[in-house]
Amino acid sequence: MKLPPFEYACPTTLNEAIALLANHSGEAKPLAGGQSLMPMMAFRIAQPSLLVDLRKLPGMKEIKIGPDGVRLGALVRWRDVIDDKRLAVAHPLLKEAISHVAHYQIRNRGTVGGSCAHADPASEMPGIAQTCEAEFSVMGKAGARTIKAKDFFQGALTTALGADEIITEIHLPAWPAARRYGFQEFARRRGDFAMAGVALYYDLDGGKAANAHIGVFGVGDCQRRLPKAEAALNGKAVDEALAVKVGEAAAAEVEPQEDIHASAAYRRSLTGTLVERAIKAAMVR
């Protein structure tokens, strides 16, 4: 048998699921799409005593689009995002980013909530959440609360979620139609973990960039925004020379890790190049 022993429950209400998690003092894990948790269990990096399968929970599989933005139910799968034609207008940056998530079969199973709760530093969705100042609706034994993305992600595989809490919804603020955006990631093979990735957007105010948001993933131990690079972009007319400068600012600002896939110096240089490319892509949208 491949996986370590565990017990399994498949509740039909959120309250039941939370009670199961709460009664297992941190030893239980929610199971959503399973595309990260199952490999971790196969390697026995994760050995939960109880898996709480969320697949029968109602009302968490919808993508809602309204004047206040996009609300993704936590059990929305990557495939649902890719297939939702409304998102091409309602959140084109999200749509573009998700097309880069893993491979075809994994996009059919993986969920937005699962990815964020797992918080792999190289994942796209936490990068989008940070860049776009998403808010996480979570429910636990003590009730519902909302967590801002900047407080939610605390490090590699570490979030603000309590052991008894489940993400119910991810809210991305409204996306103005004229917003400029770019998304870039680099991996040796499409679908593999990004060696570095960039999601960015800005608005135009009198021909100049305003409200710049630049987020990175796969660089350092957590998805984050780059305030210095954003400052280098804000208030300026965007041209190719500025794209290079902002890329340089981003490269200086990140704190990349070194591992078997790439050196820290390579990741730093790559981040600069990707920011530059993303701004150039944004210019012509």
């Binding site: 429950a9 509740p11 199961l20 199952m38 491979h103 075809y104 059919n108 499409r190």
Partner: protein
Amino acid sequence: MEMTDKRTITVSVNGTKHTKEVPVRITLADFIRYELGLTGTHLGCEHGVCGACTILLDGRSARSCLMLAVQADGHEVLTVEGIAPGPDALHPLQEAFRDNHGLQCGFCTPGMLTTLLEFLGDNPDPTEQEVRVAISGNLCRCTGYQGIVLAALDAAKRMKAGRA
């Protein structure tokens, strides 16, 4: 709320319903291979990298090593054994693989076929690049992918002709 280490599940596999009591920690891949004896679904890495164990769950490709059998309770699974229309006939996708040298050792083939079956349904007229992206999660160590890509493009034509 019931918590168990065994559970009775009903899964439809290639059109046949199976009801069995299974340990909750058995993967869908092992259920298909060891409980049902359908060994066409191959296991390579067993952690979601190689794609050999790809099956269709309700028509969508999924890695059966990254699913528990209990998660498939009440769902429909299609394995490589269920692709052909009958024991003496091949699916046009399989014929295209045979005719274009889309396989050598055959280990990756079940995953390639199931993935491409879904992909060509979604995208009946793909470009070579789109095919390469679609099978990027399926590792082949024999063919260099060239024959597989040619087979997929040929299969798209055959499947289109079959529908016309």
